[in-house]
C-alpha cells in the first residue's frame, strides 16, 4: 500500500474511534448506557496503527480500555453500542457490557477488565495457532499498569520459551487510574527494557503518531510471521478523559492542566492530518457520523434481553 493510502486509512480509523467515543461521552449522561466505560479518546493511534498491520485471521485481545481496539480491528459498531445499552443485540447479548467485548469473526477475540488477566489468553491463542499450523499473529493490548502484574511477565516468558506468534502492545499513558508512574515503577527504568530482559524482541515509538506505530507494527508482525518468536511494543500516549466515565477529570488534581494540554496539542489525528493534507476529511467525517447515527438508532431501538434465554445453556447447572 502506498504511504498516502495508509495514512488515509489510519486517519479514517482514528477519526472513527474518536467520533464513536465522543458520541458515547455525549450520550452517557442520559443514563441509558448503564455500565462503566473506559474511553480511548486521545490514544487512538496505537489501536489504528497496530491493527493496520494485521491480516485476516489475526486476533486481538484487550483489557478494560478496549473500544478502540475492537473498532480498529473491525468489530461491529452497532453491536458494540447495543452492548453499552444492555440490549439483546449487543455483542455479548447484554451479558458483558462495555468491559467484555467480543467479535470473533472480525478477529477481536476478547476483552476482559481484570488488569493483566487477558494477557495469557492471547498467548494461549498463539499456542493454538502454532500447534495447528495456522499462520496467525495474536495481538495483546495492555496498559502501563499491567506491566506491574506478575502474570504479564509469566506470559512473556512462556511466549518466548515457546516462540509463539504473539505481539504484546503496551500503551503507556503514564497513569493507572489516578496513580502516576512515580508511585508504581522505578523512575529511570523503561518498559521496553524490562520486557527485553525476558529475551523478547522489542520496539518502541511515539504512540500519538499512527504512521510510526503502523511502521513498527508492520516490522514486528513480519518478524513474527517469519518465525522469530514474540514481540513487545511500547507506545507513549495519553488518555484525555477520566479513567472511567464520560467526563474530564483534571480538576481532581492528580495531573496538571499543563500536562494535559501539552498532550492534547499533540492530537494523533491532527498530527497525521497535517502530514497528509487529508482533503477528504469532511466527507469521511460525514460518513462516520451517519454510520454512528444508524448504530445508535439500532442500539436504542433494539429490545432488552429476556432473562431466561441464556441461563440454562451458558452455565452448567443442577
Amino acid at each position: 500500500m502506498d504511504q498516502s493510502a495508509l495514512r488515509q486509512d489510519l486517519l479514517r480509523s482514528m477519526l472513527r474511534i474518536r467520533m464513536v467515543e465522543e458520541a458515547v461521552a455525549d450520550l452517557y449522561p442520559e443514563q441509558e448506557m448503564r455500565c462503566p466505560v473506559h474511553l480511548s479518546i486521545g490514544q487512538e493511534a496505537p489501536a489504528a496503527g497496530v491493527c493496520s498491520a494485521l491480516a485476516n485471521g489475526d486476533q486481538v485481545v484487550s483489557g478494560h480500555r478496549s473500544h478502540a481496539h475492537y473498532l480498529a480491528r473491525g468489530g461491529d459498531l452497532a453491536r458494540m453500542l447495543a452492548e453499552f445499552y444492555g440490549k439483546a443485540t449487543g455483542c455479548t447479548g447484554g451479558l458483558g457490557g462495555s468491559m467484555h467485548l467480543t467479535d470473533p469473526e472480525a478477529g477481536f477475540l476478547a476483552a476482559t477488565p481484570i488488569v493483566g488477566s487477558s494477557i495469557p489468553v492471547g498467548v494461549g491463542a498463539a499456542l493454538t495457532a502454532r500447534n495447528r499450523g495456522e499462520d496467525r499473529v495474536v495481538v495483546v493490548f495492555l496498559g502501563d499498569g499491567a506491566m506491574e502484574t506478575g502474570i504479564l511477565h509469566e506470559s512473556i516468558n512462556f511466549a518466548v520459551v515457546h516462540r509463539l506468534p504473539v505481539m504484546f502492545c503496551c500503551e503507556n499513558n503514564l497513569y493507572s487510574v489516578y496513580s502516576p508512574m512515580s508511585v508504581r515503577q522505578p523512575p529511570d527504568r523503561s518498559i521496553v527494557e524490562v520486557a527485553a530482559g525476558h529475551g523478547i524482541r522489542t520496539w518502541s515509538g511515539d504512540g500519538n503518531d499512527a504512521e510510526e506505530v503502523a511502521g513498527l507494527a508492520e516490522d514486528a508482525v513480519q518478524a513474527i510471521r517469519l518465525g522469530s518468536g514474540p514481540a513487545f511494543l511500547e507506545f507513549s500516549t495519553y488518555r484525555w478523559r477520566e479513567h472511567c466515565g464520560p467526563y474530564y477529570d483534571n480538576d481532581l488534581g492528580y495531573r496538571t492542566q499543563e500536562e494535559f494540554e501539552s498532550w492534547r496539542d499533540s492530537d494523533p489525528i491532527e498530527i497525521l492530518a497535517r502530514r497528509e493534507g487529508w482533503p477528504d476529511r469532511e466527507q469521511v467525517a460525514l460518513d462516520i457520523a451517519e454510520e454512528i447515527r444508524a448504530a445508535v438508532e439500532f442500539a436504542r431501538s433494539s429490545p432488552f434481553p429476556v432473562s431466561d434465554s441464556m441461563r440454562s445453556t451458558l452455565v452448567p447447572s443442577s
Binding site: Q31, R34, C35, P36, V37, G86, K87, G90, T92, G94, L95, G96, G97, S98, M99, H100, T112, P113, I114, V115, G116, S117, G145, A146, E148, T149, G150, I151, S176, V177, Y178, S179, V183, R184, Q185, C244, G245, L252, G253, Y254, F304, P305, V306, S307, R311, L314, V315, S317, S318
Partner: protein, 351 residues
C-alpha cells in the same frame, strides 16, 4: 459523642484512629491516597500519617498480599484495600495457602495479624467481574476471620477490632452501604468480630440478612408487619466464625428461618447457616428453612437482566409470608426516581 457518619467516613475514622494509636499500622492499596480515596474511606490519611504508612501500590495485588503477610509476621499491622473483591482474586493463593495457615503451620510461633478490605460491587452494569460477593469462598478456609459489617457504626467498631486482632481478617464491604448514614461514636471502640446482632425483634419468623441484604430484610419486615406477620431480623455481621447461637436462639423462639445472602445460594453461607440450625434446632422448626440469594449464574451486565438477579424486599416478604403460612403478594417498595440498579439517584456509576 455520636454523630451521623457515612459508611466510608466511619471506616476512614477507624483507620485514622488506628494509625494514630499504633505506629505499626499501615494502610495500602490501589488508589488509597488518590483523590477519590476508595469511596472516601482513605481520604486524607496519607497527609495525616505519611507516605511510609499510607500508600498506593503498583498494580501487583498478588505480591502486595504476600508483602502484607511478611510485614505482619514481623511486627506491622497492615490493612490492604481492594476496590473490588474481584481484584483480590489474583491474590487468592497468598490468602488461602499462606495467610490463613500461617499461624497453624508454624505451630503458633508466627502469626499473620492483617486486614484485607474488599468492596463488593452492585448495579450500573458492574457485571460478571465487578460485583462478586465471595464470602463463602473465604469462609471455607480455616484460619481466616470473615466479616461483613452492615452499618457505619459496626463498620468502624469491627474494623477497629479487626486491626487489633492477631488473626487475619477479610472485611467485605458492600458498595451500596457507602450510601447510608448512621450514628457513630467519635471515640475509638470495638465491636466483636464473631457476633450476629438482632436488629429488629419479632415472633413469627427469623430473617437472617448478610450485609446489604440486612437492609432489604428490614424493609421486608416492615411490609410483613403491614400484612400482620412479625419478623425478627438478624444482621449476620460475622461470616466466619458464624454466630450460630444468636441465630438458634431466635429461631427457637420463632420456629421459622429465612436466610437472605448477598451471594449465590448454591454452596453459599446460607447453606452453612441452614445446616447448622437443622442440626441443632430441628425440633423447634415449624416450617422448612428457606434460602434466598443470587441465581446460579454470573452477574449479567444489562440492567434488564441484573434487575431480576437480586432479591428485592417484596420478594423476601413474599417468601417469608409463605413460610409463615400466610401467602400474600407485596407491592414493590417506594423507589421514586431510583432505578433498580442504583441504591439511590446519587449513584450513577460508573463504578
Amino acid at each position: 459523642m455520636e454523630r451521623m457518619l457515612g459508611y466510608g467516613q466511619a471506616i476512614r475514622e477507624a483507620l485514622d484512629q488506628a494509625l494514630a494509636d499504633d505506629p505499626d499500622v499501615i494502610v495500602m492499596g490501589l488508589g488509597v491516597p488518590d483523590p477519590k480515596g476508595v469511596f472516601g474511606s482513605t481520604i486524607g490519611l496519607q497527609e495525616r500519617h505519611g507516605v511510609e504508612r499510607v500508600f498506593d501500590i503498583p498494580l501487583s495485588e498478588n505480591a502486595v498480599t504476600g508483602i502484607a503477610l511478611g510485614s505482619a509476621t514481623t511486627g506491622l499491622r497492615p490493612v490492604l484495600v481492594h476496590q473490588r473483591v474481584d481484584f483480590a482474586l489474583v491474590s487468592f493463593e497468598q490468602i488461602v495457602n499462606q495467610i490463613a495457615k500461617w499461624r497453624f503451620m508454624f505451630d503458633g510461633r508466627l502469626s499473620a495479624p492483617l486486614v484485607i478490605r474488599m468492596v463488593v460491587g452492585r448495579g450500573w452494569g458492574q457485571g460478571p467481574q465487578h460485583s462478586q460477593s465471595l464470602q463463602a469462598l473465604f469462609a471455607h478456609v480455616p484460619g481466616l476471620r470473615v466479616i461483613m459489617p452492615t452499618t457505619p457504626s459496626d463498620a468502624k467498631g469491627m474494623l477497629t477490632a479487626a486491626i487489633e486482632s492477631d488473626d487475619p481478617v477479610i472485611c467485605l464491604e458492600h458498595r451500596w452501604l457507602y450510601n447510608i448514614e448512621d450514628l457513630v461514636p467519635q471515640e475509638r471502640y470495638r465491636v466483636p468480630l464473631d457476633r450476629a446482632r438482632v436488629v429488629r425483634s419479632g415472633t413469627d419468623v427469623t430473617l437472617v440478612g448478610v450485609s446489604y441484604m440486612t437492609l432489604e430484610c428490614l424493609t421486608a419486615a416492615e411490609m410483613l408487619a403491614d400484612a400482620g406477620v412479625s419478623a425478627e431480623v438478624v444482621d449476620l455481621r460475622s461470616i466466619r466464625p458464624l454466630d450460630i447461637d444468636t441465630i438458634r436462639e431466635s429461631v427457637e423462639r420463632t420456629g421459622r428461618l429465612v436466610v437472605v445472602d448477598n451471594a449465590h445460594v448454591v454452596g453459599g453461607v446460607s447453606a452453612e447457616i441452614t445446616a447448622a440450625v437443622l442440626e441443632r434446632s430441628f425440633a423447634s422448626l415449624l416450617a422448612s428453612p428457606v434460602r434466598m440469594g443470587f441465581p446460579d449464574h454470573p452477574t449479567p451486565t444489562s440492567p434488564a437482566l441484573a434487575d431480576g438477579y437480586y432479591p428485592l424486599p417484596e420478594d423476601i416478604a413474599a417468601r417469608t409470608a409463605a413460610v409463615v403460612g400466610r401467602p400474600a403478594a407485596f407491592t414493590p417498595a417506594e423507589r421514586g426516581e431510583r432505578r433498580l440498579d442504583q441504591p439511590d439517584t446519587s449513584y450513577q456509576g460508573p463504578f
